[in-house]
Amino acid sequence: MSAILRATGLKAFYGPVEALHGVDFEVEDGCVTALLGANGAGKTTTLRAVSAMIRREGVLEYAGRPLNGRGPEDVARLGVAHVPDGRGTFTDLTVDENLRLGAYVRRDRRKLKTDFERVFGYFPRLAERIKQQAGTLSGGEQQMLAIARALLSAPRLLLLDEPSFGLAPLVVSEIFRILRAINQNDGVSILLVEQNASLALDLATRAYLLETGRVVVGGEASTILANDSVRRAYLGY
């Protein structure tokens, strides 16, 4: 299978400080890849580098073409939807307006109506709260809103940063169930950053372990789960 996203020797910088020291990874087309690691390992930094939110060096290929030299707006227009850590919802705008912004880059407005219906199919609670101000939604609902907004841009690749953060377990499992459906039904590739390793490895086919800006282990998710020493050292169980 071909890779929708491939990174080779990817470095990332916050100002003069190098935070990623040359990582290699790839996301297979139509599959879920997980980036795991402790706090400060560089997972969020990796997503920011892919989205061109911070300065980066190295090779990034998206659908076979280089992704370098562009800003976040351009990356978004190529079909990469980034749900950042902290959700990134427009708290002062309504649910409806947040969703419409998700569709901002779309050229094909005709398909939009069906896409809205599909998104409401995944997240019926959003349909109920459509005129509500986004900042008044619960944490779980805001996460759903962020994912829904990302979906409405009809992405080929979804970057998700810690979707489980700060949410109750029931809400989290609902969200992950929907993520699996999105991946399998709509064929959206997912690059998932998660601290909750078991959840991530359950959903993903490939996984990479990051530690202080470097990939230390990478491979099939099942292999990593089966590897006792890796599990104990890096995943804590």
Binding site: P84, T89, F90, L93, E97, R149
Partner: protein
């Protein structure tokens, strides 16, 4: 009683000018956290452009439209060329830049159009509308134009994708980029809009205060007072504030403090609001991040 209604009417007419100027100020403030001290001089310069076109035979409304277009372009250019390079500079630097801009526009107006006071005819002449006894035709027309501008701006921001994108860019630039909004250009558009709105304000004010390079100084102050009163980060509060300031200033000037010290009313309003309730009547509480 009739006299009071007259004062109210002219207060509303000028209040409309203050309201739309305040709107322009708040638009720029929301997007950039900066106060455009050059807003008045930009509006004045735009009005001179309209005046020149009219003197060359253009009809009022075609001059109006052309001036709006030119002002819009000018606003975009100013943002791209002068404001953007200093986007991350300290507050004092941007204040200095805007004062510098106001100097330049004032000088350009004086140099090209002279310093003598000119008349600028309102497009609304003739008998008072609907035979009313309180507002002259030009006052009614001015209020209608102001309200029309406000309604158009409101509709633009509320119902169009571009307006939505601009609001998103102002509120959360990072997330806006992630959905593909070109935040830089949204800022430029915002400036263009503010400049165009300011041009309307100038053209509505000129029939009342006459056209000269220093005509907008007092108006800018009242607009600031209105914006501060309504809430510097709330566009519709600012609009309401502008109308309020217009009416109050007129009434106080006519009945209480006298015409000559009306500007100090604005001064008092600004200082009182900023000290007592900085967020104004409708703004959010301003929290400084430590």
């Amino acid at each position: 009683m009739v006299e009071l209604q007259h004062q109210l009417a002219s207060g509303l007419a000028l209040g409309g000018v203050y309201a739309i100027t305040a709107l322009a100020l708040v638009m720029i403030f929301q997007a950039t956290q900066l106060l455009n001290f050059a807003q008045g001089e930009m509006a004045m310069f735009s009005t001179y452009i309209a005046w020149t076109l009219i003197n060359n035979g253009w009809s009022f409304w075609s001059a109006f439209a052309a001036t709006l277009a030119l002002s819009f372009a000018g606003g975009v250019a100013i943002q791209r060329l002068i404001v953007r390079p200093f986007a991350h500079a300290p507050v004092l630097a941007s204040v200095i830049i805007f004062i510098g801009l106001s100097f330049i526009f004032n000088a350009l107006a004086g140099f090209f159009f002279g310093y003598s006071v000119q008349t600028f005819d309102s497009p609304f002449d003739g008998p008072p509308w609907f035979g009313n006894k309180f507002m002259s035709a030009s006052e009614s027309g001015s209020v209608v134009v102001s309200v029309a501008v406000l309604a158009l701006v409101f509709a633009f921001f509320r119902f169009t994708p571009l307006g939505l994108a601009m609001r998103a860019a102002a509120q959360n630039p990072t997330s806006a980029r992630l959905v593909g909004v070109r935040v830089g250009w949204m800022l430029a558009l915002g400036w263009g809009l503010a400049a165009a709105i300011g041009a309307v304000a100038g053209m509505m004010a000129a029939p009342i205060v006459y056209l000269d390079p220093n005509m907008m100084g007092g108006i800018l102050l009242y607009a600031f007072a209105g914006a501060v009163l309504g809430g510097i980060d709330n566009p519709w509060g600012a609009v309401l504030g502008g109308f309020l300031v217009g009416v109050v200033e007129n009434l106080l000037g006519a009945y209480v403090v006298g015409e000559e010290v009306k500007l100090s009313v604005a001064l008092v309003v600004i200082i009182a609001v900023l000290v007592a309730k900085p967020s104004g009547l409708f703004g959010r509480r301003i929290v400084a991040r430590v």
